[in-house]
Symmetry: C2
Subunit: 397 residues, 2 copies
């Protein structure tokens, strides 16, 4: 186990009706926040009446706002720039994101740009680090990204297109409101993308070379089992099953709040491999991960011959996917796990190969070049161009 | 799952050598803290050189201190009063506890008394609640109480004697330093008491009537398995096994940091039943719990006939103790779990009956009267005098 520091200051307010506390919570936690940016897609959150309830709650606590709508999946830098301009012009005190990871990440990027000089993209381009940002709070409507209590944000720069992320303590939300009822009406595809995304967040952490991280291994495996079981419930007529929606929602936050990282270094190659997919094809992040992760696993099962790594791959199959741990052949057990994972993804409507998502495989060479832009990716096994090509090819098979 | 709020602001600094960061961490997090109370037992922490290292680190950051030693297990109100007087007299800015739960709980009580008027015992006597306290930081030397990131403190008032607890957000430590190496030299009895204590913290939360708390069930079970496995390692010649000590130490903090509570209400009857034991006989908290918990489980297995509760008791046996889940007879499976738990406690040198700890059973009637002082105890099943008597009798068998 490595030395680590862990602190997560986001206050989680979880449960039925909690969105109506947003005004009083801001007044309590950020008494100086008089005028805020209300940031969302402008779509279903408006139609469903959620934004009306939010506005009522803000008004009730004497908080005024400027609205910035138009957030879309793979949130765009151009909208971030617009938000920064508004926040500076109107001297806004905080950003309230209502939505999923896209709205929250967009809000975080605005929060950084609003109080730091220079071009906000420089932070994503790894030219600068930020230690200050406007406070961000969230009302989560899509359990997926875990951005509601994370230090991460991912933005797409349309000019490249480039999809890149930042990780700064200062962008961790001050509070996040999570009402599972708000997720009843999600289209099944979005629910499935969310489930895949949070599973990927856990798996990126699970696949580590660090030995002696048993507690976090157990927590990762338990969270994954919970997501799989409750995902199945939702996709077996349980769209409005509060309990199942609540398990998924809470697991999505824990998946990415830093706890499952403690003492270990995660891999994150699959996220990098997917970022090129979504940058070029605008495919949903979760769907891209459903394609990439099985391929990444197969690559490691075949190419990685360190005993400890093979054991971890087999353990993953046994503990998470219930593969019988007879262990005559660890690689065989690990492959059976991947097979079951693919079946699960398919059962909730996710693609598992490029063809399922109409990805143009002729652009693989371009993706390979882009993905190693900053150097080799991953930790579990460092991947160079050749490895990335092999994984993309497995995804195309 | 119930609505909940969750926020844990304690910064955990975990790993080898981290105690040497204490001065710089105070300077960074609490720049106004110029003079602090350094609170510890005065025993092994001094002899081992730890206190010297702490003082050197404080000096290096320009922080001065007043020392208050003499903390003992089941920390005493009289020492707390002394600390409060010193903190007020010397206008101290924070309290640094070095030790286990006793030092930390004592520090928390001093922190409350130092900035609130009136008698500090009133807070323990449930006459008042506190919303302010001096900042508390800790260097943990005994993984057990989980007080390093909890909102709880338990103090013994020698006049009763009464042993009572408080739960206030304001006493949650601002940071806690946890170096597993500092626990190598713990006497086996203290290691075992700590293991039992942290297991009890998880079990108190695990045994809930709240349905649909699957994620936290999984996390509790995973943490318990990790503690049992690594406890066995330590007691099989692994006293200086960093990995095992680290798993135990981190699990002890997670056991009591609020995460495993989310969405559910724990039971806590066993803690109340043990508090009377330690108040009257000054038995270590962990040792008392090793006696009480099996008795509490047997009582519930025999007396509780709600199907969901029986299922949870059997699940505990299956998931934590590896009892074959054939499930022909859930009560039988649950009892097998208790049997294995008792064996585990015995294997690490814990008592499991009153006789093992030389408890005078003639005082059971007195304990029964005292334990229901504030009314029935527990949530999983509300226990009145008659039930408490039955459990103490099972512990005496």
């Amino acid at each position: 186990m490595q030395n680590f520091e862990y602190c997560n200051k986001t206050k989680i307010i979880f449960g039925r009706g909690t969105e109506n506390q947003v005004g009083s919570e801001i007044a309590k936690m950020l008494p100086d926040a008089k005028k805020i940016l209300l940031h969302h897609s402008g779509g279903f959150a408006v139609k469903s009446g959620l934004i009306d309830r939010v506005m009522k709650s803000l008004k009730g606590s004497g908080i005024s706002w400027v609205e910035l709508t138009g957030v879309q999946p793979n949130p765009r830098l151009s909208l971030v720039r617009e938000g920064i301009e508004i926040a500076k012009r109107d001297k806004l005190d905080m950003i309230l994101a209502v939505g999923g990871g896209s709205a929250i990440d967009s809000a975080k990027a605005i929060a950084v740009g609003a109080v730091n000089d220079g071009d906000v993209w420089d932070f994503f381009d790894r030219k600068k680090a930020a230690d200050k940002a406007l406070p961000v709070a969230t009302i989560v409507t899509i359990p997926a990204a875990g951005s509601e209590s994370s230090i991460s944000a991912v933005i797409t720069n349309e000019e490249g297109p480039w999809k890149r992320g930042i990780n700064f303590q200062c962008i961790r939300p001050v509070f996040s409101i999570m009402n599972p009822e708000l997720t009843y009406s999600l289209p099944p595809y979005q629910t499935a993308c969310g489930i895949t995304d949070m599973m990927a967040h856990i798996m990126e952490r699970y696949f580590t070379k660090e030995p002696n991280v048993e507690l976090t291994d157990e927590l990762c495996e338990g969270a994954l089992r919970t997501i799989i079981r409750n995902g199945r419930k939702i996709f077996s007529g349980g769209e409005n099953d509060y309990a199942a929606r609540a398990e998924i929602m809470w697991a999505g936050a824990l998946a990415h709040n830093g706890l499952l990282d403690t003492g270990r270094i995660g891999d994150w190659a699959s996220h990098a491999l997917d970022h090129e997919l979504s940058a070029l094809f605008d495919i949903a992040h979760g769907a891209g991960l459903a394609i990439i992760f099985p391929a990444w696993l197969k690559f490691n099962i075949n190419e990685n011959n360190e005993a400890a790594l093979t054991a971890r791959l087999a353990r993953f199959a046994a503990k998470v996917w219930g593969v019988d741990g007879a262990f005559y052949d660890l690689k065989q057990a690990a492959l059976e796990g991947v097979y079951r994972m693919e079946n699960f993804f398919k059962s909730i409507g996710m693609p598992v190969r490029f063809a399922d998502a109409n990805i143009d495989t002729s652009r693989i060479p371009e993706m390979v070049k882009r993905v190693v832009h900053f150097g080799p990716i991953g930790q579990y096994r460092k991947l160079d161009e050749k490895d990335a090509l092999a994984i993309y090819k497995l995804a195309a098979e």
